[in-house]
Each structure stands twice: as structure tokens, then as C-alpha cells.
């Protein structure tokens, strides 16, 4: 599994670390069914690419002590029957995030989570950072 803040996300993070107002805020989380090494996020990634995904608004985004904590929820009705391969954060509202939109901040990949209607999922991504 890879966990990655992409180049654009690092720029945003740097602004926060420097005490500057970020040019955008973390606003949404996506879960998609892209799996395998070929679907890994790279530092140059800026969009999800072709895939089946669900995007929801973040329910929590805080910045305490050099950690950004974000939570998003998949309801019992969403993304059932598919294997979730990636979870990503975006600096755009849900309506603006598409497979081609370049709002990607970072995420985790190479997951294998089979979602069913038996349950909902709350995904929490905690981004810990420090400068050197």
C-alpha cells in the first residue's frame, strides 16, 4: 500500500506549514475501484483517471499539532459490490471532482476493501508532517 501526498498537495501543505493561508481547503474524499500497481498514486498524479468512484464531503478536517485529520463516510447504499482500491483527498467540493479534475491532494492506494450494503464505512486519513 502506498500513502502519498502528491506534488500539488505538498505545495498546499507547505503553505499551511509556513503559516500562509492555503489557496484551497481539503473539501472532499473519493473512494474508487482502481486496484493494482498500475493504479498507484505518484507524485505527479493530479487526477483520479478513468475509474468508478464515489465522492463525498469531508465530515472532519482539522489541523492540530502538525496533523491534518480528514474523515469521509460511504453510506450503506454507496459503492456496493465493488472492491475499493484507492481513497483520495481533494481540494474541491464534491460537485467539482471528476476523474479528470486536477484537485488531487493525496491519498492511499492498493487497498482491497469489498464494500457491501451490510455496513457503512468511515475512512479517516491522518496526514502527519514536519519540516526539516
Amino acid at each position: 500500500m502506498a500513502r502519498l501526498i502528491v506534488a500539488r498537495g505538498l505545495e498546499e501543505l507547505s503553505r499551511r506549514i509556513a503559516g500562509l493561508a492555503p489557496s484551497s481547503v481539503l473539501a472532499s474524499m473519493t473512494w474508487d475501484n482502481s486496484t493494482g500497481a498500475g493504479a498507484a498514486f505518484t507524485s505527479a498524479s493530479s487526477a483520479l483517471g478513468a475509474t468508478t468512484f464515489v465522492v463525498n464531503t469531508l465530515t472532519n478536517s482539522t489541523l492540530p499539532n502538525q496533523t491534518i485529520r480528514c474523515e469521509g463516510t460511504l453510506t450503506t447504499a454507496e459503492l456496493n459490490g465493488l472492491t475499493i482500491g484507492r481513497i483520495a483527498l481533494h481540494t474541491a467540493a464534491t460537485a467539482s471532482v471528476t476523474t479528470a479534475s486536477t484537485f488531487l491532494f493525496g491519498g492511499v492506494d492498493q487497498q482491497s476493501i469489498l464494500k457491501t450494503s451490510e455496513y457503512s464505512l468511515v475512512s479517516r486519513l491522518e496526514i502527519a508532517f514536519r519540516t526539516t
Partner: protein, 53 residues
């Protein structure tokens, strides 16, 4: 000057909440049947993934 954030990492967790007609105990049983690794159980949710870089 461009600042670069270094040594950033993402801690990833999946909290599974039971469905409307399902208890946490039933959910745990079904997850185990499917071979899902369960890390923690609370009164209203189950932690199934917790990995750090």
C-alpha cells in the same frame, strides 16, 4: 522562497459502522467470515484497517 513539506505520511483507518438492522456483533461475525482483519471493536463501530507508513 518555496517551502517543501518533508516526511509527510498518511495514517489510514477504516471505521465500519453497522447497518440499520445489524448489531456490531453481527457485523464482526460477518467480517471475520470474509477474512477481514479486525483491529478494534467499539460500541457502534469496528476498525478494520490501521496502517502507518
Amino acid at each position: 522562497m518555496k517551502l517543501v513539506a518533508q516526511r509527510s505520511k498518511i495514517r489510514f483507518q477504516q471505521w465500519v459502522k453497522p447497518g440499520k438492522e445489524q448489531s456490531v456483533g453481527e457485523l464482526v461475525s460477518r467480517l471475520k467470515q470474509r477474512g477481514v482483519r479486525i483491529l478494534a471493536v467499539e460500541s457502534d463501530r469496528v476498525l478494520i484497517t490501521d496502517e502507518e507508513s
